[in-house]
């Protein structure tokens, strides 16, 4: 905590006494989005995450409407290195704790992804929709929607929505958790060394084993399924059940 000094403390006291609205002490989340943090290395978020916070092509994820705790946790994980990314790590490291809290709160208050009641219909075995809605239980892979919510809308503050993210981004995250196995040299090609996972921040390893158990083709297919569940124009009636 910063020490605000005697005059500030006096102002606080007066503020309370007069019940006047206090001046904003905390960082301003909206301002960070538009103009960046106090440290110039914390560049304006909108340049990469879009003016509306709904993400951009090229693997820049949607932040609008994601759970506040999840967003703050990701920024802390970038700082600590349990989630590695050459673009986001320096940005997150340049944000103060206060700024992290403020910008996470501001993005969480933006609109959530709005997904239709029953996207897709009955899934076909072997498709991306199948992995998303039925899982691959012979490998202990639950259907993604069991943790990420029906239609991928997210659950509580630990399970982020997948609907609203691009296929490109989802694929990249699954591969970040998985890493790449080493490929032995052949007569024609040189050996490729293993790539260690760059994302190791899932609570209790709930996500990592799933990424490890999927083939490249399956990762692509399931990422495309969720990538196709963009924002729908019809609002979903929240008094209705979402079916499995």
């Amino acid at each position: 905590m910063r020490d605000f000094g005697p005059s500030r403390r006096l102002a606080l006291l007066c503020g309370v006494l007069l019940s006047l609205p206090l001046p904003a002490l905390a960082a301003d989340g909206e301002a960070i989005m538009q103009k960046g943090g106090a440290n110039p290395a914390a560049m304006p978020c909108i340049t990469c995450h879009g003016a509306d916070g709904k993400g951009m092509a090229g693997g820049f994820p949607r932040l609008s409407g994601l759970p506040e705790d999840y967003l703050a946790k990701q920024l802390r994980d970038f700082k600590s290195g349990s989630r590695q990314n050459p673009i986001m790590q320096p940005i997150a490291s340049a944000l103060t704790d206060e700024e992290v809290a403020a910008v996470a709160k501001a993005y969480a208050q933006r609109p959530k992804v709005n997904v239709q009641a029953t996207p897709g219909g009955r899934p076909v075995e072997g498709s991306g929709a199948w992995i998303a809605l039925r899982g691959l239980w012979d490998r202990n892979v639950p259907e993604c929607t069991l943790c990420h919510g029906p239609a991928g809308v997210g659950v509580g503050s630990h399970f982020p929505p997948l609907a609203g993210q691009s296929a490109e981004y989802i694929e990249a995250q699954l591969k970040a958790w998985r890493g790449e196995k080493a490929v032995a040299a052949t007569k024609k090609a040189k050996a490729i060394p293993a790539v260690a996972p760059t994302r190791r921040n899932d609570p209790n390893g709930l996500m990592q084993h799933i990424a490890v158990d999927l083939s490249d083709a399956e990762i692509k297919a399931v990422a495309e399924y969720f990538g196709s569940l963009g924002d729908s124009k019809e609002p979903f009636d929240e008094t209705q059940h979402r079916l499995r």
């Binding site: 239980w137 202990n140 659950v155 390893g205």
Partner: protein, 311 residues
């Protein structure tokens, strides 16, 4: 239940039906006895493989099977009149009732009607499902010939395609781990719960919803299974948990941890046993719980008598 009252119930049944009361003979559901131990799977062999969803035929039979599967996964949404809590069949019968050691339907259907020597009764498959409605779903069982139970039966029948009749298959039930030598410990179970389970099932076992739809099912409290359900037995819950929880990471808890956390969950209040005898926990314990595996109904834990029920 005494033979006299059973006979009375049987006599009264047509009367009750005529008066529009619940059309199910609950006297026959008395007994949610434990399943017999299933044979062990021979190593190197596979569990029984039910047919793939794509093999459901595109005709009236297939329609009924699909309806059964939908009901199994979305019981609360599609059959709310029979469900008194926030649970769905699939919550305890994982992967749409297909997963071994999660009381799969393919291992169940071919084992009925089942004769029980203990009380000289025969239980049908439909009655067993009615039991799960009454206790696991804390609801009102649908009538035997109802559309709901017909569809669920068709689903189980289809899933058992090519399974042998009357031969217990490995993977049936929950394959309970043996009780730990030093007994179980609720305090240790709390620690396991907070580390491994609360993230999904909530700090108070309340589960988690998205809108009105339950996603992580409640483990105790008013929206969970009641004191008569098979899952209220610590041994049964330990088996389910060891094979299936934490979700996607089954087979990671030791026997001890599985028993401890099962005991912790089942040391909380839940809806009353619908068979409550004369409003007395003690009488109900004696009649239904004293001889029903390991359970805490009617037992005082940390100074509180369990079995009071919550609404």
């Amino acid at each position: 239940m005494t033979t006299i009252s059973v006979r009375l119930a049987v006599l009264l049944l047509p009367l009750l039906m005529a008066s529009g009361a619940m059309a199910v003979d609950t006297a026959r559901l008395d007994d949610q006895t434990q399943l017999p131990k299933a044979p062990k799977k021979v190593s190197g062999t596979k569990y029984f493989q039910p047919p793939a969803e794509g093999e459901i035929p595109n005709n009236a039979f297939g329609e009924l099977v699909r309806r059964g599967q939908d009901l199994f996964m979305n019981t609360k949404a599609l059959a709310p009149q029979y469900v008194g809590n926030e649970m769905n069949c699939v919550n305890c019968h994982i992967d749409r009732g297909r997963k071994a050691n999660s009381a799969p339907l393919w291992a169940a259907y071919p084992m009925y009607p089942a004769y029980r020597k203990k009380n000289n009764k025969v239980n049908t498959f439909v009655e067993r499902m009615q039991g799960c409605f009454q206790f696991s779903m804390n609801g009102k069982p649908p009538a035997a010939d109802s559309e709901v139970l017909t569809a669920l039966t068709a689903y189980a029948y289809w899933m058992s395609t090519n399974a042998p009749i009357g031969k217990a298959l490995p993977g049936r039930g929950f394959d309970e781990p043996p009780p730990p030598k030093g007994g179980y410990d609720i305090g240790r179970g709390k620690v396991v719960y907070e580390k491994q389970c609360a993230i999904c099932h909530g700090d108070n076992g309340e589960g988690k919803k998205v809108g009105v739809t339950s996603v992580f099912p409640p483990l105790w409290g008013k929206d969970s299974y009641n004191w008569g359900a098979g899952m209220h037995r610590i041994n049964t819950a330990a088996g389910f948990i060891q094979h299936n929880m934490p979700l996607g990471r089954g087979e990671t808890l030791s026997d001890q941890d599985a028993w401890d956390v099962a005991a912790f969950i089942n040391s909380h209040e839940r809806p009353q046993d619908p068979r409550l005898v004369n409003g007395s926990i003690e009488e109900t314990r004696k009649r239904y719980h004293a001889d029903d595996g390991v359970n805490l109904y009617g037992v005082t834990v940390n100074g509180t008598l369990l079995g009071q029920g919550v609404k």
